[in-house]
């Protein structure tokens, strides 16, 4: 990034107009959430035409919307790491898995020797085990993930970006494998191996059904109640992301993302700030893990695959790195597309044209293609943060400069500042 030329000034709306723009997206999402709630509430009560009901059950079942909300939470966590701090994390599924297993340990009869019940709500017919209130487990999952985020980050954050990506990827592979093989760790069963932990205690909350609104433990079909819970959790994470972004820490993250050297010269403590990004991103991942465990009422180790990390990354990239609203939109759209949209569109296509194409098997192509095309043609995502747009759409360099692949070399003013920087003959030894 060049210091010499100032970034082109974007013409921004000022005054009242700007304030209005600032509230556009929050209001949009709030309206979306409330509108969806009212719509599904009416639908649950059975006031709508059965045809409408069928259509909605096919195209927008509440289950898939709940799942999409879980994805939103995790994607917002990844957004803090990748979008704010610019650290590529390819193993984010690890935090999802840890959060899920924290829920599995603290909300089930898995540890049947223990008899702990802290405001818990054990499922019927389950004797023993640890049963802790869902909201406390959310906090516990967040705390454990923050701890692991810092633990994973501490030794690796000194590395350059691509090495960092690789090491996080390694952690993202190790941690699910630990859970996968966890039924016999030195003779101890810590995770029930491939069988996973199931069932997980139902959450006690407001239950909305045709019988009215009651306070009871949620059954497998109380999707609307879970929707409310997930919306609350999502709002918490959105709030956290937005407030952090405005604050000192958030500005430090952006500074690091844009130029690490300049940031550290300005007194930004690199290690601490990066670790904070990892820890806080992991918090959101942990909350998503707990929420997902409550959503499917169990944890299975085989679910935590590399493709989850990539899907999350695709959500962040597609929506617009660094912009909370963009990431939310990207996550909602991709999650819906993955769970419902692609099969449904495929069915419609097949029945219309009389073909029999298995559309869900194209998801690899779809995700890979999305990543590649986005990077080639719209690197900043569909709804970019204005700052990201400026950085990623850097002013085109001159032909001569553009020949060099590494950007670091493009700032001649920095040469004097670099202490023990690379010199030509160092590099000559490579390759």
């Amino acid at each position: 990034m060049s210091f010499a030329e100032p970034l082109p000034r974007e013409s921004k709306p000022r005054g009242r107009m700007r304030r209005r723009l600032r509230f556009t997206w929050p209001l949009f999402f709030a309206a979306l959430a409330i509108g969806a709630f009212i719509f599904y509430y009416v639908l649950t009560l059975g006031y709508l035409d059965p045809a409408v009901n069928d259509f909605v059950q096919q195209w927008f079942p509440l289950v898939s919307i709940n799942e999409a909300l879980v994805w939103v939470m995790a994607a917002l966590g990844l957004n803090i790491v990748v979008g704010y701090a610019g650290l590529l994390d390819l193993g984010f599924v690890a935090f999802w898995a840890i959060g899920g297993y924290v829920a599995g340990w603290l909300m089930s009869g898995f540890f049947d020797k223990a008899h702990v019940n802290v405001l818990g709500n054990p499922a019927p017919f389950i004797v023993g085990g640890i049963h802790i209130n869902f909201w406390l487990v959310v906090i516990a999952g967040a705390a454990v993930c923050a701890f692991f985020g810092v633990l994973i980050g501490a030794p690796t954050l000194r590395l350059r970006s691509d090495y960092l990506a690789l090491v996080t990827l390694g952690f993202g592979e190790i941690i699910p494998q630990v859970f996968h093989n966890g039924d016999d760790v030195g003779g101890l069963n810590i995770s029930n191996g491939t069988k996973g932990i199931s069932p997980i205690d139902p959450v006690k909350s407001l239950s909305i059904s045709q019988q009215g609104v009651t306070f009871k433990s949620l059954g497998p079909f109380d999707h609307l109640s879970r929707y409310l819970i997930f919306v609350v959790l999502t709002i918490l994470i959105v709030f956290m992301s937005l407030r952090l972004r405005e604050g000192r820490l958030g500005r430090a993250w952006l500074a690091i993302r844009e130029d690490e050297l300049a940031a550290s010269a300005m007194g930004v403590p690199l290690m601490r700030t990066k670790l904070a990004a990892y820890g806080i991103g992991a918090v959101a991942g942990g909350v998503a893990g707990v929420a997902f465990a409550a959503h499917v009422s169990g944890v299975l180790p085989d679910r935590f695959q590399f493709s989850i990390s990539i899907t999350l990354l695709a959500m962040v990239v597609l929506g617009g790195m660094g912009n909370v609203w963009g990431v939310m939109l990207g996550a909602l759209v991709l999650a819906w597309f993955n769970s419902t949209g692609l099969p449904q569109l495929g069915d419609t296509f097949n029945s219309t044209f009389g073909t029999s194409i298995n559309f869900p098997s194209y998801s690899f192509l779809f995700f890979g293609g999305t990543l590649v095309l986005m990077m080639l043609f719209r690197r900043e995502g569909f709804l970019p943060e204005s700052r990201t747009r400026l950085v990623l759409r850097e002013p085109e360099r001159t032909d001569m400069e553009a020949l060099g692949s590494d950007i670091e070399e493009q700032a001649p003013e920095l040469d004097g500042m670099r202490i023990g920087g690379k010199s030509g003959d160092d590099e000559g030894a490579r390759l």
């Binding site: 690796t156 592979e173 690490e260 690197r379 390759l431």
Partner: protein, 348 residues
Amino acid sequence: MTSSAPAVRSPQLAVRARAVAGRAAAILVLAVGAVWLAVNLFHAPTQFFQSAVYGLRNGVLYALIALGYTLVYGIIELINFAHGDLFMLGTLFSAFTLTGLGLTVSSPKGWLGFVLVLVLAMIFCASINVTIEFLAYRRLRRAPKLAPLITAVGMSFILQFVGLRWNGSTPRLWPSVLPAGHFQIGGVNIDYNILVVITVTAGLLALMTWIVTSTRTGKAMRATAQDQDAARLMGINVNRIISFTFAMGGALAGAAGILYQQTVGTTRYNAGFQLGLIAFTAAVLGGIGNLAGAVLGGVLIGVIQGLNDGLPYAFGQEWSQSVVFAILIMLMVFKPTGLLGQNIGEKV
């Protein structure tokens, strides 16, 4: 701000203490590893060498794949995530071509077919790699680093999709045209196909070393890796040299593909991801960008993995991945430059 003497000195002391502690920890880790090897060697020498031989076979394949990573990284500093999947396409190509030619048994005709398909697979993978570079990476050469990396991940998914379509979602078993059977040295079985793998790899390595060190193209490659601007000023066609590097990496992946398919005997659409990751670990272990390092790293990783899978006192096969990645993480902590890598300074 008042600057007192201890306030200035203590960070230095802390840095030195950290360096000493780091070195001590590294020595401790190595010592634990050595004790582990010694105990196993003493307890079950035959099993030790048998596992090491199998590990060596895998390690040689890892080395071939790792070379592709290291070549590309050396020249444009990109972790080509799609490289492992390219290798997977190589396994599929050779399996389907050999079977399509009707070569399913070990015979002189089969061996001839093996050589033919080896060359075809190398050409196949090289052309795919060059195409990917031309379509995707070339346009992103001036972009921030995150962009080509994410593109590579996307490409890896696209290649996996091709593999999924081609192979199907379940692993397939294939016959081998290589001579079956084994001979024994001191109770250790050595398969004939291991010898084939090692011979082919050694030949390819010699060829590649010759290209890189002794030809004009190799000189141009080294120049491009060092400084693209200066290379272009010297009249080197940088784009062509980068394409050629991708072709070389792809050809090695293709060779690794057919060797893997012929010795292991299975193809899976997601084989590339895991093997590619392990191979990349190998490249990093040896010092990325360093060709000899990639080979050393591949063989080391293969042998360690083989020992872990086969020894009586070890974590066992189900922890194989974790062991490899744990090695990677420890290496990153203690020696980020790799075993043979030069310290090129931390570029910020």
